[in-house]
Amino acid sequence: MEPEELTELALAAAVEAGAGYADARWVREETEGLTVTDDRVDDLEAEDSSGIGIRVLVAGCWGFAASAVVDPGRARDLARRAVEVARASAAVDGEPVRLAPAEPAVASWSTPLHRDPFAVPLAERVELLLAACDAQRSVPGLAHAKATVDLWRRRTVLWSTEGTRVDQTVTQTGAGIEAVAVGDGDLQQRCWPNSFRGQYQGGGWEVVEAADLVGNAPRVAAEAVQLLAAPELPEQVTTVILDGQQLSLQVHESVGHPLELDRILGMEAAYAGTSFVRPEDRGRLRYGSPAMSVTADATTPGGLGTFAFDDEGVPAQRVPLVTEGMVAGFLTSRETAAQSAGAMRADGWGSMPLIRMTNVHLEPGQGGLDELIADTPDGLLLSVNRSWSIDDRRVNFQFGVEAAWEIKGGRLGRLYRNATYDGRTTEFWGSLDAVCGPEAWVVWGVPNCGKGQPFQNARVGHGAAPARFRNVHVGVGGR
């Protein structure tokens, strides 16, 4: 049976069972992850998952039921179960859910692709990754070389009782290398283009080609080996330049999450946490310096948070979150705002949509990384994330990076290992004094953003160019 027929059956059954509102999402998700370690294929995971999730509102309470096992009878059963779940929730008094109005969407959309990555023969993918590992292993002293390619495609058919009829297919591709050096009781790694399996973007095989894994492999491997012999970064307060890879995660943790309105309203208090930002802070709270402007833009080409409609059928939008340092907006949904910013996203068929980041960008300034380094008499260049942690209101954070280069007199100097930096969110963003320009601005992918119960994973994007922060505490010490 076609997905549209299943969703239609489910909606009819939900209304018959008493739902005042219902939406049904049929989702098919295909993934292929390939890992080559040294000279052998370590892991090829291919998965094809489809199912249907039905969300209903009954007496102002949400209910949701989902299954991978779908036939017409099961679709109707699931709808009735969702209504039963919603009715049970009414056992606890509370303000009823009201949805902000939204024009029903009737459309289809797909990620533009130059070359469908799923059509690239497995042998071609394996050959590329073996070559990327060989190029790393040409560097003496390297312990292990890894290379990865990840393909992801999700088709969503979303129908609602309000008349939404959306059919969209999102395709994303990732690739990376990881060089590991081991010695004297230490382990160091260098990754390219990013850590945790590389760079991910919306698009096809062209994302893999752009990463130039083989061309970058010798440099990356050599840096991993150099890190083993590098001194530990001493504790100090100094100027730091974060590269785009690290900055994207800084934006993710300390700007994107705190400005999710469900967190601000306490809906994620028990698990992921809340936010130091309050609903009344829009237009009033200084979040950072005037050099800081952040937007959520679900229309950015190549972003992991790029789509045509969110999982409530609200069109993709570009929304200012921070304008010249002042809070300007939030990531919102139909339940939490008078007009949704289109940020409701579910982790496949089996999960209720939650407010998630789309593509949350630090807007570019001007100039290139070389110019920014030349303009920095004394400081550090911190490169590629290794570790991250932030408190449950998104105030105190600590990050670790793979590599830190000293900057002296506007030039890069010695390499340090095991670098960390920490701070408090608004103080840190208040110390931002320069962001590189569009030529250095890249939409980085974060494919592993966790939130919600049951746990949901989201794939989000962050445009970032290297940026400079003053008076940052680096190195872990007793403060």
Binding site: D42, A86, A91, H144, V180, S389, D422, Q453, P454, G478
Partner: protein, 447 residues
Amino acid sequence: MTGFGSDRLLELAEAALGTGGDDVEALAWRQAGGLTRFAASRIHQSAWREDLWVRVRVAVDGNRVGTATTHAADPAAVRATARRAVEVARTMPPDPGYPGMPGPAAYPRAGRHDEATAAADPATRAGLVAGVIRRLPAGVAAAGACETRELEIALANTRGVRAAGATTAASFSILADAGSGTGWAEGTEPALADLDVAALGERAARKATDSRDPRELVPGTYPVVLEPNAASVLVQWLGWLGFGAKAYDEGRSFLVGRLGQRVCSPLVTVVDDATAADTIGVGFDFEGVPKRRVTLIDQGVAAGLVYDFRAATGHGVEPTGHGLPAPSSEGALPMHLSLLPGQTRQADLVAGMERGLLVTRFHYTNLVNLMETTITGMTRDGTFLVEDGRVVGAVRNLRFTQSILEALSAVRAVGAETELAAEDGYRAARAPALAIDRFAFSSATTF
């Protein structure tokens, strides 16, 4: 829609056999359950979900291995998936280290399947939530979740393995918010009836009110008592950092060069045991190998590793039953870790501390240095200053950056009561409270 049945699941797995290939293995997995979430003392999300998948692994030409997975529940789809795995295998390069597949074995009893938990309906979960919320003291609001779920696993291969098992789990977590202070409690049991949700609610509320008006404390190294939830996080992380034989072989383990040596206090013994009465699991791993109890740290001495079939074959030892679903670049992992309890009541651990901190829970921990086993994270939902053996007030939350092994080397006493906890919801470990003489807090936050 509950109770698909592990025997029926095994029949589904068996459909993959006989579709070609030298070796064929089919792992079938089904999980179904409901989760009711609440925040600001109202239920705001509630869901029921059922997932089922069959992963087929096939070897052709002796050592070309491919896998494919389907989420469909009919034998025809499983057979089609097996044929897809054969196609994948034919395109793969030879794997010289492919060890074949395990043969049949007898499996130990493990886990517990409670019919009432498997069948728990949303009204039951909502009723438990409503009861806890009703009993909250004035000025205290609550957030949290009540979950019930059933897990069924079956595995069949062409070497004769036929394994099937089922287990259930119920959990209740509550964050109580008393304005300037929050408190936390959670419990996980194989059966919903064994969860004392009222006691959990009372504990969280008491912690919340005790946490009001926290004072600022200068970061530094302090003696601590970690309650079981916080202590469990240290054990969970150790499980990721090097007990697997593959990680050890590749030099990615903190145990490299330390097996047989003292790595922490003699008061610390860590085992992995899926067969213990209080764990949630089945008696075989994802390759069909019987799960065994493995002592990983024995009275402070690094004592062992866990092996999947590949690593065990390479080392010439028996696999320990810790294989993950194939293919796995990670190798074996301990999934049922437990730090064994001591003799000291939890309350007496606090009474024995002259000046230090009592920590309820950690938040957002992450690895800083693998070989040093250094992690960082925040305290949350109940961090208290202890003076002369008594809690004298709450403190603002602190960030710790601490080597786990160094902390476990400074253990002064081990609590008698244990709890099963999981910071991120899936890598659970059982632990008692720990009294630790030195624990490094590197910075502080504002609440």
